[in-house]
């Protein structure tokens, strides 16, 4: 489903401030699995997640998703692939505070040229699923942390990609909200979503929903 084969990412290559963020990292994620990239700050989790999410290309090595060598795809194909297959949940959710809940959820569908009625229909279905209908027209800045989290997950799912990548999703959450987040991840797993989470939160790492944990240190996958 998703593999990285000896991927290396070097920032500012051949410059005095060169940083080897990820070095020869190989991971394998099967369909419907929940996998965690665990490690301290600066260990390369987010960079590896960015390469899996087609946000950045490796300097060497390969990322293969659904048999597509995505790290070799030209940029214009990569954008379409990313849009159709991958949903992102960011550390601070990266929602647009002045837009309503429904507008935030519908936003990733705009570049795909999906008709308005279809966009509304998909967004409403997700709002039902995540119990957000009563907040439909609220500006996102007026929502609680838990509600914002649900909006972020709904937005990640709206393009119907079966891969969800989450970068430190519980970094700013209390125990209760972390628990809610993990329940939602369990639901995703039941629906055959493949989830890759970067985190150093033990509550996530030790949760039964997680199939595999890759430990990272100094850019390398150590176990």
């Amino acid at each position: 489903m998703l593999t990285t084969d000896s991927v290396t990412k070097i920032y500012n290559q051949n410059l005095p401030n060169q940083v080897v963020a990820v070095k020869d990292a190989s991971i394998n994620v099967n369909e419907g699995e929940v996998v965690v990239l665990q490690g301290p700050s600066g260990s390369g989790k987010t960079t590896l997640l960015s390469m899996i999410g087609c946000q950045t290309k490796p300097n060497r090595g390969e990322v293969v998703i659904n048999k597509s060598r995505v790290s070799k795809l030209p940029d214009r194909f990569l954008n379409v692939f990313k849009r159709d297959n991958i949903g992102f949940i960011f550390q601070n959710y990266q929602l647009i505070p002045d837009l309503s809940v429904i507008d935030n959820i519908m936003l990733p569908m705009l570049p795909s040229g999906i008709p308005y009625k279809e966009r509304i229909s998909r967004a409403e279905a997700l709002m039902h699923q995540f119990d957000l209908m009563k907040r439909r027209t609220f500006d996102v800045r007026n929502l609680s942390g838990g509600e914002q989290q649900r909006v972020a997950i709904a937005r990640a799912m709206v393009n119907q990609g079966k891969i969800i990548l989450a970068d430190e999703p519980t970094a700013h959450l209390d125990t209760k909200l972390t628990g809610e987040f993990l329940e939602m991840i369990s639901d995703l797993k039941k629906n055959q979503y493949t989830v890759v989470i970067s985190s150093h939160d033990n509550e996530i790492i030790n949760h039964p929903v997680v199939n595999k944990v890759y430990h990272m240190k100094d850019g390398k996958v150590v176990s």
Binding site: T8, K57, P58, N59, R60, R69, K72, L73, P74
Partner: protein, 338 residues
Amino acid sequence: MILNTWILGLLIGQITIFTVISFSAIHAFRIHLSWNYASSDEGQYRLENKTYLVAALMKFVMFVHLFLFALTALALDEIAPLIIGAMCPVGVLASNDFGFPFLYLKIALVFIFSTWLMLNHIDNKMDNYPLVRLKYLYLVLFYPLIIIETVLFFLFLLNLDPMVITSCCGTVFNEANTDVTGTISSIPNIVILPVLFGLTLFLLVTRFETIKNRINRVFGGIFEAAIWICYFIFSLLSVLSFISIYIYEMPTHRCPFCFLQKEYSFIGFPLYFFLFLATTTGFNRGLLELVKWEDNLATTIETFQSKLHKVSIISMIGFLLTGFLPFIFYYFRTGRLI
């Protein structure tokens, strides 16, 4: 050498083209030699990133080249009063041995650049860079022409001598002149116009598919490209021998540059724009037949060829309308021919 702001502009433009193409050619050579799409090593990723840079630079070069083309005509017109006997760009070009070769090469380069851009466009439509090696080899191969163009340009400028007496366009394109230009001008309209309209009709009614399917697709493609080059040549001949005299309303005035001026409502710009657009798109539509190496590529090329066909036909009609309207207006106004 005559140095004024126009010439300085041309110099900067030409040096820019030369520098950017030289840089691109070095990278093109490396890409052609080392490209291996199957590899995921560092060098290959670097080459993949470089392809974006070189493609962007080539688009820039094409734009500057076309801009310089127009600028050259205007600049030569500006400096014509400084050259004894010259009354327009033709006189300046004829004032030394390098002017016309420089112009001919500049025209050829429009076609050469356009082919590179078409290859690049098709390559970008594919997800596995199937034309990368070819398009960069092509760039490397035509790079010497850029060197020759730059050398000719400098020789032309360095040999512009205000003390040398040159000829005006009326003499250069006079039927009595024994030079190439005079010989061209002596071809009668009764030959040029039927050939031009014959080619037009041929291009309008055929899409070359029959030839490509029945004989050979590569032969059909080359034949199509050759027909469009013939169309370009006969269009220029018709400009010199027929279209120009109705724009100027003078039987002896056959200059292909003067009608770029305000006095003639800048009619030369749309005329040449349509001519170059029609012929470059038509020419490349034929040439693209040569690179249908795999099924996916062939499908993408066919879709693009269909668009090119529409553009070339519409532009051809645009050229004919722009070129022959002055004749129609003249005839209906005066009831006679020149």
